[in-house]
Structure formats: structure tokens, C-alpha cells
């Protein structure tokens, strides 16, 4: 056997992709979440693309600054203020999520739990806000087939896209709750890795990022 082949084999066995190990030390669980996220992004992408087409081809798409004006308890119209607040809260929850991940990697269980709790709180407030917003525009007369502001597809796409995103937030909350319980019971400590927290975190950041797109395209533009 020639010497080159032996050297080559040596190099392969030590290399990142040489087999027998996880490339770059990333576990398959984490790869799986990344890949799922890419896939899910395509679903949202299709919804948003469809929305874009409807918007461009419909005459008289409603002005969101006139539709989303409600804000609880203040009694005056405040265009976009409420949804801006929702968005801010969700982004904050991404921030607390990142803190939870870094705390858990430092094996600081109490701190990790605290930040996971805050993340769950943020997500829950977001969902409640969304309920309020749905309630409000349904009250104003919006349905899947018509709405007082013009093109029926406006409310149809609104309910579809925010609804689909809301389901993602809801599943995220369930995952976060399970993760928090596992942290509390010392599951990750026994396993010797807090990777599970990080993986849920990836999902949560993704859900938040999607919202930023929804916010930008549906509300702001």
C-alpha cells in the first residue's frame, strides 16, 4: 500500500468530516432544529409571497395606519402603537432567551430558570395582545371574507398569517414550559449538557424573527 494513501487516511480520520464524530461538535439535535427552521421559513415565505402578490394586484389595499389604531385603556386612537409594543415585547423575550441560554451554559440553574420564566412571560403577553387585536378587528367587522376597510383578502391574509405565526408562538410557549420544567428538575444537569435549552432558544429566535418580517411587510409597509 502506498504511503500517500496511509497519510490521506490519517488526515481523513482526524478531519471534521472524516466520520465517527459530529462535524464541528454540533449534535444532530441542533442540526435538526436548524434544518427544520429553514424548512419552516419556506412555509412562511410562501404565505408572505402570496400576501405580496395580493397586495400588489388589489386596487385599494387598506391603509394599516387606519386599521390598527386601537390601544386599550387610553381612549384615543394611536395608529400602530399597540403592535409596535407587541413587537417590542417579543424582541425582549428573545433577549431574555439568549440570557437563559448563557446562564444555563454556566450551570446557573436559578438564573436560567428566571430568564426562561421571563421569556415565557413575554411570549404569553404577546399572545394575549394578539388575542386583543384579533378581538378588536373582528369587533370592527373583519371576517375571512370581508372587512369594512376594503379588499376582503386584506383580512383573510391577516388572519391566516398572524394566525399561523400565533400557532408557532403557542407551540414555542409549550416547548419553553417543558424545557423550564426539565431545567428545574435537573434533567440537563444529569445529562451533562444544556444543549436542549439552546435548541429551544433557536426555535424561539426564529419565531421572533418571522414576526419582525410580518410586522415589517404587513403592518409597516
Amino acid at each position: 500500500m502506498n504511503h500517500d494513501a496511509v497519510l490521506e487516511q490519517k488526515k481523513i480520520m482526524e478531519s471534521e468530516w472524516g466520520g465517527g464524530k459530529a462535524p464541528f461538535g454540533v449534535s444532530w439535535r441542533k442540526y435538526m432544529m436548524w434544518i427544520f427552521i429553514v424548512s419552516d421559513a419556506f412555509t412562511f415565505g410562501a404565505f408572505l409571497a402570496a400576501y405580496g402578490l395580493f397586495r400588489v394586484t388589489s386596487a385599494g389595499w387598506p391603509d394599516t395606519y387606519e386599521v390598527f389604531t386601537a390601544f386599550p385603556f387610553i381612549g384615543v386612537e394611536a395608529p400602530m402603537l399597540f403592535v409596535a409594543m407587541m413587537t417590542f415585547i417579543l424582541i425582549c423575550s428573545s433577549f431574555t432567551m439568549a440570557l437563559a441560554v448563557s446562564a444555563s451554559y454556566k450551570n446557573d440553574r436559578t438564573k436560567a430558570l428566571k430568564f426562561l420564566g421571563l421569556t415565557i412571560l413575554g411570549g404569553s403577553i404577546f399572545i394575549l395582545c394578539q388575542v386583543y387585536e384579533w378581538y378588536h378587528i373582528i369587533h370592527d367587522g373583519a371576517t375571512m371574507t370581508s372587512n369594512p376597510w376594503g379588499v376582503p383578502l386584506f383580512s383573510a391574509t391577516f388572519f391566516m398569517i398572524t394566525g399561523f405565526h400565533g400557532l408557532h408562538v403557542l407551540s414555542g410557549l409549550i416547548l419553553l414550559t417543558i424545557t423550564a420544567l426539565k431545567v428545574k428538575r435537573g434533567f440537563y444537569e444529569r445529562r451533562g449538557s444544556y444543549e436542549g435549552v439552546e435548541i429551544v432558544g433557536l426555535y424561539w429566535h426564529f419565531v421572533d424573527l418571522v414576526w419582525v418580517f410580518v410586522f415589517t411587510f404587513f403592518y409597516l409597509l
Binding site: 465517527g20 434544518i35 415565505g45
Partner: protein, 595 residues
């Protein structure tokens, strides 16, 4: 060995299996692969039965066929298939063949069965969702099957489910409950495919054995890996479309329904939607879907050809590169299905360009196969025959693809039998041949027994000749404008002239279909009575043939998983004693795997 695999191994050894955990809710990738295979074969029989119904109707329109009434009941009262149910049978045939036979029969079957065995892993990364993937697929199957029994009959908007037929429940009988079940079933199928793909991809990334670089993986694994990526990106888009279509159907939104539409005399109150949008969404998924089934078939073909020609695969790297190129291009060609949808001709010409570009990597593959065969010591096993048959079908169907990819020609040929001929060659028959090649080749590993070579060869020749007799004449019908999705060709002069040809095609269909009985008897008979297989009956070089038993148990290898020292298709190499070198052969490498 990674710790993940080690713990799996321990689990397996201390695990007593009941009937249910072994054969039904099994976590073992090999059993799951076989479950996919058997289910796909059952579906293939149903799909074939439907093609018989269509063919008999087309050859003998208006004649009473008593057995139709017995089998189809109210869909064929008095033994005459009703027109609206011809379309329903056609829709179900297409759907069943594309999703439940080819996707499940290739990606589901060989992805599951081969990936861990060929990369040297004990199982998939996440056996639980692997099991769920099969059972979600099973549920999708049940829902699709149920739709045959609803009052208004199964879906009838074509396998492409174009609105408004698919979106307005009142349009035709099949637009009702049948279409809803169709959409539900497809949604379940998408979830199942997502579970599967996630698993295939991470398993390939993370669970390869020592020395198994990406560049040493057999081409089947490469092909399934890339097909899984395609599925992961294409199916979610269809999911979004299916959700919107369901909303249109059940909540009266008008995503895909334009304003000003009449059903009967009544003006519908929809406004603003775009049926063309569905076509974009569907084909953004639909074209990659063609490759989700084609790539694994091409991968199997490459591997079987190299093994049975006893030569290294010519251009292994070029084969991988061409798979990647095809996969990439498949996402930017979907417009070639929409040349007659009123598409801007300039945009159309862009899609022409991308479509024709696919011919380049496809031709690379064909020439590499031919070069591999060139002066090979060919062993004409049934698997090899089907692989070579695939090359022929792929060339025939690929050439007509170049016609159809050109907008000016497609505008003439769109929705004619030329298209039926084209996709049955390049997608239908070629992929089916991939399944057959794979089954004949890996049957010994699946069941520890050999299938009969002689009956396999007879099965091949009848099927191969049959496919050409059935589908080749359709090109001529298509070029003279005979439309597809027609119930009968009795109304127009120019279609009536094909009465004899239609009858010929139908007879060929019945004979070819009957020939499949040979396969079924061979398959199920060999499962129990076949000759006991050796561990490596084809003298192949890849890892799955190095297991301790001919039919490996849970965990695949009894001892350590072997280390890999070389590429997957090394045959007739000058320094070997035999005409092949196993990937695990460490002669000359000393004791380097002991750290």
C-alpha cells in the same frame, strides 16, 4: 464511535422485542424501510388498477364492461364509467403514483433501509420520529383511501389540484368532500416527509462511521440526501398552498378564486384571488418533487451499474456534482409548466433557459453510466437489467423534455398525449425501474434470501418492452393534438383515427400489468422460500454487505462498526485479490484505527 451511537447500541442489546414493537411500531430503520416498501407496493397495485380502468375506457368507450360495475359500483353504473369519474380515477391514479408509490417507494424505502447501513450507523439519528414518519404516511394513505368511499367520489381536479375545480365545492362532484380529504391527506403526507427528511439529513451529517467522508458515500446515499433537502424546501411551500386552498374551500376566502366566476347561472361572490398563484405555488413544489423521486432512482441506478459492471463508477465526483446541479436548477424551472398560463413571454424565455440547462447535468449522468458500462464485465442480474432499462427510459423521456422545455413547442404540445408520454417515461417508468432495481439488488439484505434471477429477467423484459409499447405511440397522438385528460376520443374526427392505436395501447397495458404478477410471486415467494443469501451475494464493495449476518438484526453490526478506508465503488482494481475491494478493507494501512 460517537457516544450517541454507543448508547443506542446498549439500548438495543437489552431490549426484548414484542411482535408489536418489532413489526408494527418498530424503531428499526430496516423494518421501517420495509413497511414503506410494502405499503408502496400495495398502492402501486391500486394505481395500476386505476390505469386499467382508464385504458379500458379509452379503448372501448361507451361499451358495457360488467366488471366495472362490480368493482366501481356507482362510479360505473351499467358497466359504463361516468365521465366525471374518469377524471376522478385519473386524479387518484396520478396522486397515488407520484406520492404514495414513487415518493414512498424510493425515498421512504431506500432512504430508511440504506442510509444507516451504507454509512455505518446503528440506526437513524432519531428513531422515534422515523417511526412517526411512517405512521403519518400510513394515516395519509388511509385518508386518501377513504376518499374513494365518500358520497360524491374522490378528488377530480387532477393531481395538480388546480383551482377553481379544487377550490369550489360545488364545481364538480369530486370538488366536494373528495377534494377536502385529498388536501388533508397531502398535508399529512407533507408532515411525514418532513419527519423523514430531517432524519435522513442529520443522520448523514452526524452518524457516519470513522473514515466515511462525504466523498466516500455510495451514490444512493448522496441521492437520497439531496432528495431529502429538496423535500425539505419544496414540501412546505405546498403545505402553505394546501392550507390556503382548504381555507378557500371551507371558509370561503378567495385566495385562488377570481372575481366574476359563475357556477351554473349563479355569480359567485368571490373577489380578488388568483388561480395562477396556485399554479406557481404548486409547481414550485411540483418540479422539485419530480426530482425527489428521480434522484434516488438515479442514485440506485449508478450504484447497481457500477457493481454489476464490475467497474469503478465513471466520474463519481461528476455524478455528485450533477445531482447537486439538478437539485439546484429544479427550483428555478417551475414556469415551464405554465407557458400557456398567460405568462409574460420574456419570463417564459428565462424559464426555457433554466429548463434546457438541466439537460447538461442530466447528460453528464447518462454519459457516465454509458462509460461505466463500456467494456465492463457485465453481470446481467435483474437489478442490473432494470438499472440499464432506467438509463434507456431516462434518455427517451429526457429527449422529449427538451421539446417541452421550449415554450414555442410546448404551446403546441401542452396538455396533449405528448406530455403524458413524456412524464410517464422520465418520471413514471424511470423511477419505477429505480424501485425495481433497488428491490432486486437489496432483497438479499432485506430478507436474507435471493429472488429468482430467471423470473426477474422475464419480468424485466416484459415490463421494459411493455412500457415502450404503451407510451411510445402516445408521442404521435400528442403531436397531432390529441388532448390529455379526455374521457373518450369519439367526438372529433382527428382523434377518432386513433381508435386502433388506443386499443393497442390498452392491450399492451393489460399484458404489462399482468406481468407484474411474476414480480409479486417472485417477491413474496422468495421472502419465504428463496435460496438463502450469502452476506455479499453481488460481491459489492459498500458497507451494507459487511454485516455479520446476511440479514442484519437491530443495530446492524454485532461488534464494532467497521472503519472505512476507501471509496464506495472500487471494482476491478489492480491491487485487489478479487475484482472488488470492500470499503472496510484495511490491507496496507496497518493498525491505524486503534487510537
Amino acid at each position: 464511535m460517537s457516544s450517541e451511537q454507543a448508547s443506542l447500541h446498549v439500548d438495543i442489546e437489552h431490549h426484548k422485542e414484542s411482535f408489536i414493537s418489532k413489526y408494527i411500531f418498530s424503531y428499526d430503520h430496516k423494518m421501517i424501510g420495509k413497511q414503506y416498501m410494502i405499503t408502496a407496493l400495495i398502492w402501486a397495485l391500486i394505481g395500476m388498477g386505476l390505469s386499467w380502468v382508464m385504458r379500458i375506457q379509452l379503448a372501448y368507450p361507451g361499451q358495457q364492461i360488467p366488471i366495472f360495475e362490480t368493482l366501481l359500483g356507482r362510479y360505473a353504473e351499467g358497466g359504463i364509467l361516468a365521465p366525471e369519474y374518469y377524471i376522478a380515477m385519473m386524479t387518484m391514479h396520478g396522486t397515488i403514483m407520484v406520492f404514495f408509490v414513487l415518493t414512498a417507494g424510493l425515498v421512504g424505502t431506500f432512504g430508511n433501509f440504506l442510509i444507516p447501513l451504507q454509512i455505518g450507523a446503528r440506526d437513524m439519528a432519531f428513531p422515534l420520529i422515523n417511526m412517526l414518519s411512517y405512521w403519518t404516511f400510513f394515516l395519509a394513505s388511509v385518508v386518501m383511501l377513504l376518499s374513494f368511499f365518500v358520497e360524491s367520489g374522490p378528488a377530480a381536479a387532477g393531481w395538480t389540484a388546480y383551482p377553481p375545480l379544487s377550490a369550489l365545492s360545488s364545481a364538480i362532484p369530486g370538488s366536494g368532500a373528495g377534494q377536502s380529504l385529498w388536501l388533508l391527506s397531502i398535508a399529512l403526507f407533507i408532515v411525514s416527509s418532513l419527519f423523514g427528511s430531517l432524519n435522513y439529513i442529520v443522520t448523514v451529517l452526524n452518524l457516519r462511521t470513522k473514515g466515511m467522508t462525504l466523498g466516500r458515500m455510495p451514490l444512493t446515499v448522496w441521492a437520497v440526501f439531496i432528495a431529502a433537502i429538496l423535500g425539505l424546501l419544496a414540501f412546505p411551500v405546498l403545505l402553505a398552498g394546501a392550507i390556503m386552498l382548504l381555507l378557500d374551500k371551507h371558509l370561503a376566502t378567495s385566495f385562488f378564486i377570481p372575481a366574476g366566476l359563475y357556477v351554473g347561472d349563479a355569480l359567485l361572490s368571490y373577489e380578488g384571488g388568483s388561480p395562477i398563484l396556485w399554479q406557481h405555488i404548486f409547481w414550485f413544489f411540483g418540479h422539485p418533487e419530480v426530482y425527489i423521486v428521480a434522484l434516488p432512482a438515479l442514485g440506485i441506478c449508478s450504484e447497481v451499474i457500477a457493481t454489476c459492471a464490475r467497474k469503478p463508477l465513471f466520474g463519481y465526483k461528476a455524478m455528485i456534482a450533477s445531482l447537486l446541479a439538478i437539485a439546484f436548477l429544479s427550483f428555478i424551472v417551475w414556469g415551464h409548466h405554465m407557458f400557456v398560463s398567460g405568462m409574460n413571454p420574456f419570463l417564459g424565455s428565462v424559464f426555457v433557459l433554466t429548463t434546457i440547462l438541466i439537460a447538461v447535468p442530466s447528460a453528464v449522468k447518462v454519459f457516465n453510466w454509458l462509460t461505466t458500462l463500456w467494456r465492463g464485465k457485465i453481470h446481467y442480474t435483474p437489478g442490473m437489467l432494470f438499472a440499464m432499462g432506467l438509463v434507456s427510459l431516462f434518455i427517451t423521456g429526457g429527449l422529449t423534455g427538451i421539446f417541452l422545455g421550449n415554450a414555442p413547442i410546448d404551446i403546441q404540445l401542452h396538455d396533449t398525449y405528448f406530455v403524458v408520454a413524456h412524464f410517464h417515461f422520465v418520471m413514471g417508468a424511470a423511477a419505477l425501474f429505480g424501485i425495481f432495481a433497488g428491490i432486486y439488488h437489496w432483497f438479499p439484505k432485506m430478507y436474507g434470501r435471493m429472488m429468482s434471477n430467471m423470473w426477474g429477467r422475464i419480468h424485466f423484459w416484459l415490463t421494459f418492452v411493455g412500457i415502450y409499447l404503451i407510451f411510445f405511440p402516445m408521442h404521435f397522438m400528442g403531436t397531432t393534438g390529441v388532448p390529455r385528460r379526455y374521457y373518450a376520443f369519439t367526438e372529433f374526427e382527428y382523434t377518432m383515427q386513433y381508435g386502433g392505436m388506443n386499443e393497442f395501447i390498452t392491450i399492451a397495458t393489460l399484458i404489462t400489468g399482468a406481468a407484474q404478477v411474476i414480480f409479486l410471486v417472485n417477491f413474496f415467494g422468495s421472502m419465504f422460500f428463496g435460496k438463502k443469501a450469502e452476506t455479499n451475494p453481488w460481491k459489492a464493495a459498500t458497507l451494507e454487505w459487511t454485516t455479520d449476518d446476511p440479514m442484519p438484526g437491530h443495530g446492524n453490526w454485532k461488534g464494532e462498526i467497521p472503519t472505512v478506508y476507501r471509496g464506495p465503488h472500487e471494482y476491478s482494481t489492480p491491487d485487489g485479490k478479487e475484482d472488488f475491494i470492500l470499503q472496510t478493507d484495511s490491507t496496507g494501512f496497518g493498525k491505524m484505527d486503534k487510537e
